[in-house]
Structure formats: structure tokens, C-alpha cells
Symmetry: C2
Subunit: 351 residues, 2 copies
């Protein structure tokens, strides 16, 4: 199995990834949703450009450095950074970035908005800023629709900024709740005479319900391009639709019911996402990966493990995005054909 | 707090790391144990050379690529790779590596030993091979002392290889159990007329009991150089002895009892090591980090959180080794003084 590739390797089946991109773009088109993929899943400029070519309106990044890496080779001209950017060093980089692409960001406090304003005073174009809303996930975001209206007003009053709309990352199963919240905020903001041009929502775990979050105009989603065990477990896709797999080799079969592979937490990561075990071995529903150390994964079976040292396996990880962040390169394939390695341009970008 | 450094950053306090190195070297010296640090924790050639200068007999690596990265700048001449190396591509690299340093590896099956032999046939020096023993951790390793004796004999018979001794990674709390196992294996092997020159044990979680694993001659340990929340929780060290911290900024305070920082699983990782929460905020025993997404960490407090957007915090992660693997560089400091960034030379090496 891919005998010329070293293990562990992260394989990307481009046929599968492209089909996933087409399928979700079609879903968004059907429902009149703009699609703004989150590149955190693949971190590959080539796939981002493919997403845009199929109809995506631009990309989502989480950090400035991720955006810088993604746009470096050109061809991507619309970036939303869904993160509170603060501190003079970062806001200066944000302004430099704004001179290269159509840029928008979010804020959930006056403190953040004021920092952005300070950096963008005198810019040729004002910075587009969306208000981040906590519609139930209890991560970032203003607490209530009235707070969103207050911050929208503040942003529109600050020099160098344009109020662009609302942004949320809903709780799992929370699209309907988000819809009510956002509709109320939108109404309050419009009552102030401000236009809410964009309402951006996101999330993968209930991806086929994204259209329920009206008045949302665009959906941000990352994992759909690769899919993973968490999305299979929620019924969003099949194993055949998982584009990212980890190729691993059995390095030890120390007992009749367990075996050790050369993929540990340095490749598969410790993300559980509420699941038991650390990934799914394709074609071996009887196996579970019950334990990871950094370079070892332990496979266990209730019956005979039927594996030999040197056997190769493909594993669908619990969470594809974090796996794509672990190695400097991924190996692209199409079915059984090896296409070649690609550097993960935006890997490790946290600033 | 380190206002010129961007966040999130991984800080290494060299004063603390050096003191940790001295302290554990002294422990090993007292007990007549050779110390062979596992470089997976820091992945920095400079710290490895410091460990050797203080008395370590060489280094431990888990993968060939890790060893290659560590020796590239010179000054390290003794490497043990505690991993079953298999496949022609890897064994050829192993042979090339053996021409640059004094190299030893492990094997827990004839299959692995035979692959090593094939690659080292005709080498100027035979490869030193230790038999990996499962003394209770149920990861890799031969199952019983008699199996160790059989494999030792097989290794000593194979061209290109020298049987060098025994190696184990004991279960937590399992040094005494390992001692009995290893003593029995040693006796059986010596009865065959073979010399057991080295008995190598390892582990951090009960690091101050390492001397109990007689007939062990050397101890492999990684985390002691930095320490972490897992080692504090087991009483092995204090917060003041934690050399690796993550510097993070509060980016949102969305409610009176929770705050969001810019350090998520891309820095802190999802490793739990049996702990609750994702790290310890220095100086704030009242806080817990109850949730991570890739770029966000959520802090919660029972009382008022008393944090403002822009505040900086230092976090001791659950597991230092995996954190050191996430970013391309760490920031070295001594107390409050910034020394400068250092590239993490052996980051991401899994082959």
C-alpha cells in the first residue's frame, strides 16, 4: 500500500477532496448561502484556490499569519479573519495585509475595535469589521443582541472602520437559536440606520443544517473538504468521503490481540471530539486505537488481531484539521496513484 | 509581561531548564545510573549538548529523522533510537547515520532484527541492538524474559549486529516489576554465554524512583528538562521548576466568569494525561482552562474572573513535550530577560 511512501504520512486523496468541495458548494448554492471555506483544515493555497474556483466567495482564516501564508503565492483576494486581533504589532500587520487583499475581521469588544481603528486611521480603504456574536457556543462574542447593536454603532463611529455585519460560530445543534439571536440583532442595528450587509455563520458538525440559521448570508466551514471520524460519527459523510488518512506501519505485534503502529499523537493528535479511541482503521471495524503516545499508536481487537509487523494501514483521524497541522507536508494521491508531496504552507501559524 | 514577544509563544526559561538538568544529573550520579536524556521534550541541539556537558552519556531519540536533526550541527556522538526501525528505506538511513555517530537501536521481533541485519551486512562496525522488553506498559516489547533471551541469541547470531542489552519503558509505578523481569531475562541471557552490557529503562512520571529498577544501568527521561503540569500533579516538581510556559493574551472577556485566550490546541495540544483541564495559569489557582479549540482557550472561574482584554498570562501545559513540537520556534528567556528565539530543530520529525 503506497510502498514508496514513508510512514507515518498524511495522505490527501484529491479526487475525494474535490468531490467534497463540489458537493458542499452545491448545497450552499441550493440554499442561497455564500460559502467561505475555513482554510484551517487544509492550509494549502492550491485547495483554497480550487474552492474559490468552484464558487466560494473567499476564505476564512483564524490568524494573520495563516492569511499571510495563504495569500503569498497570489490568486486569493478575499479574506475574513474570524478572530479578535489586538496589540500594535498585530494590527500593523493587519493593515499591511489589507493592502494586498479585500480584508475583513471581527471584534467583540470596544477595546478590540478601538485598536483596529487606531491602526487603520488614514488607510486608503476602511477596514470591514463584523461584530462577533455569542449565539450559544460560549466562546467569544457579545452576549446579547443589544450589545451587538451597541458595538455596531461604535464601530461605525470609529475612524478607519466600516461596520460590515454580524458573525457567529453557533453551538452544535444551535442554528435555529442563532437565527433568532441574529434576526433580533439585525433588526436593532437596522433601526439605528446601519446596514447589516453580511451575516456570517459557521461550523461543521451539523453542516447540512447550515441553511436553518437565517438571516445568515454566508457559511464558514473547514472540515468538509477532508471530512473525518467526527463527521462520520454524526452522520454527515461516509468513510469513502474522507479525503485525509494517515498511512501507518505496524511496527510490533506484541500479543495476539494488540499491535503497535508508527502513528501516535504527533500525527493523529489527542483530539477526541467526544469519541472513544483515536481514529478509525479503514477496512477493520473490529479494531480500535485505544492508546497513543507520541510515536506509537496501540491497536486492540476483541479477537485475533490478524496483523503482521510491516503491514500498512490507513486511518481516518478523529479530527482532520489538527492532523493537517502536524507535519510539514502531506502526500497527495488520487485513488491508488501517488501525485506527490505538497508543503502545508500555513502549518503552525498561530500569530 | 514580555511585551515585545508576540502571543501565543512558547517560552523556555533556560535558568530553570539548566537547574532541572543539574538536579536530575545529580540524582542519577548519586544512584550510579547513567543518564540518557530523551530529546523529544526539547528537540533543541543546544540543550542536548548542555545535558551531555553535565554528564549525560548520550541522547535518546524516537525516530531516525529526529536523530538526523539533532546531530546535524555536530557535538553529539552517541544516540540510542528506542524504536523498531523497519523497511529498506529507513534501515538504509540508519546505516548512513551509524557512520556519523555511535548508534544503538532496539528490536522486539526477529522480523525487525533481520531487517537491521540485512542493512548492516558488511558495515565497518556492527550495529548495537538492545532487546525491547514489555515489563508491564503493554506497548512494544517481547512478552516474557524467555522471549528476550531467544531474541538476544538471534541478534547475536545475525551478521552486522551486536547484542547490546535490554531496554524497557516501564509502566507508571512499575520499576520494581521491571526490575524482576529484567533480572530474570539478564540471567537467562548470560546463561547462554552472552553479555548484557546495558539495561536501559525510562520514564518521567515516577522519575525519582528510577533507581529502583535494578539491574538497570541507564535511565532515559525527557520531560525533566522542562517539567509540566503532569509532573507537578504527581509531586515530582514545583511550578517554579517548570521551564516551559505558554505566553498567551486574553482576547475576549465575554462574561463575568469566563475569558478567552489566544492559545488553543495548536499550542497547548489536547493531551490530558489523566488531568482535568488544559493547563495551569501561573499565579491564578482559581482559574481552569476548561475548553480548547484550535486557536482559543477558555478560562473559567467560580468567582469574578478579574481579567481584561489584552492581559497576558503564562500557562504551564499538561504535557511539555508535545507543546514543544507545535511551533517552529521557542523563545528563550532567563527570568524576565528575553534571550531570543531558537528554532525547534527536531520538530515534526516522525520518520
Amino acid at each position: 500500500m503506497f510502498s514508496t511512501l514513508d510512514t507515518p504520512s498524511v495522505l490527501i486523496d484529491l479526487d475525494v477532496a474535490e468531490a467534497n468541495i463540489h458537493k458542499y458548494q452545491a448545497y450552499c448554492d441550493t440554499h442561497g448561502l455564500k460559502l467561505r471555506p475555513h482554510v484551517k483544515t487544509h492550509k494549502l493555497p492550491a485547495l483554497a484556490k480550487y474552492q474559490i474556483a468552484q464558487g466560494a466567495v473567499g476564505i476564512t482564516c483564524q490568524k494573520i499569519s495563516e492569511a499571510e501564508a495563504m495569500i503569498a503565492e497570489g490568486g486569493i483576494d478575499d479574506v475574513l479573519i474570524t478572530y479578535n486581533i489586538l496589540g500594535d504589532a498585530k494590527t500593523a500587520r493587519l493593515r499591511a495585509l489589507s493592502e494586498k487583499v479585500r480584508l475583513s475581521v471581527v471584534a467583540d469588544s470596544s477595546f478590540v475595535a478601538e485598536g483596529l481603528s487606531k491602526a487603520f486611521m488614514g488607510a486608503s480603504e476602511p477596514l470591514e469589521v463584523l461584530v462577533e456574536c455569542n449565539t450559544g457556543a460560549d466562546r467569544c462574542g457579545v452576549a446579547a443582541p443589544a450589545d451587538a447593536a451597541d458595538l455596531a454603532k461604535r464601530i461605525s463611529d470609529l475612524p478607519g472602520l466600516n461596520f460590515a455585519g454580524l458573525m457567529t460560530f453557533p453551538a452544535f445543534g444551535g442554528f435555529a437559536e442563532a437565527a433568532d439571536w441574529l434576526a433580533e440583532a439585525k433588526e436593532m442595528i437596522e433601526a439605528e440606520g446601519l446596514e447589516v450587509r453580511k451575516v456570517s455563520s459557521g461550523g461543521s458538525q451539523d453542516m447540512w443544517q447550515a441553511h436553518l440559521a437565517k438571516p445568515v448570508t454566508e457559511h464558514r466551514i473547514g472540515t468538509y473538504v477532508y471530512n473525518d471520524r467526527s463527521l462520520v460519527s454524526r452522520g454527515n459523510c461516509t468513510w469513502q468521503e474522507c479525503a485525509l488518512t494517515v498511512l501507518a506501519t505496524v511496527v510490533s505485534v506484541p500479543s495476539a490481540t494488540h499491535a503497535i503502529i508508527d502513528a501516535g499523537s504527533k500525527v493523529l493528535t489527542s483530539d477526541l471530539f467526544g469519541l472513544h479511541g483515536h481514529g478509525h482503521v479503514l477496512g477493520r471495524n473490529d479494531l480500535s486505537i485505544d492508546q497513543l503516545s507520541e510515536e506509537h499508536g496501540r491497536l486492540v481487537s476483541d479477537g485475533p488481531i490478524s496483523l503482521a509487523v510491516g503491514d500498512r494501514l490507513r486511518i481516518v483521524p478523529n479530527h482532520a484539521c489538527v492532523v493537517a497541522n502536524m507535519l510539514d507536508q502531506v502526500e497527495c494521491v488520487r485513488g491508488n496513484e501517488i501525485i506527490g508531496p505538497v508543503p502545508v504552507a500555513a502549518r503552525g501559524q498561530v500569530w
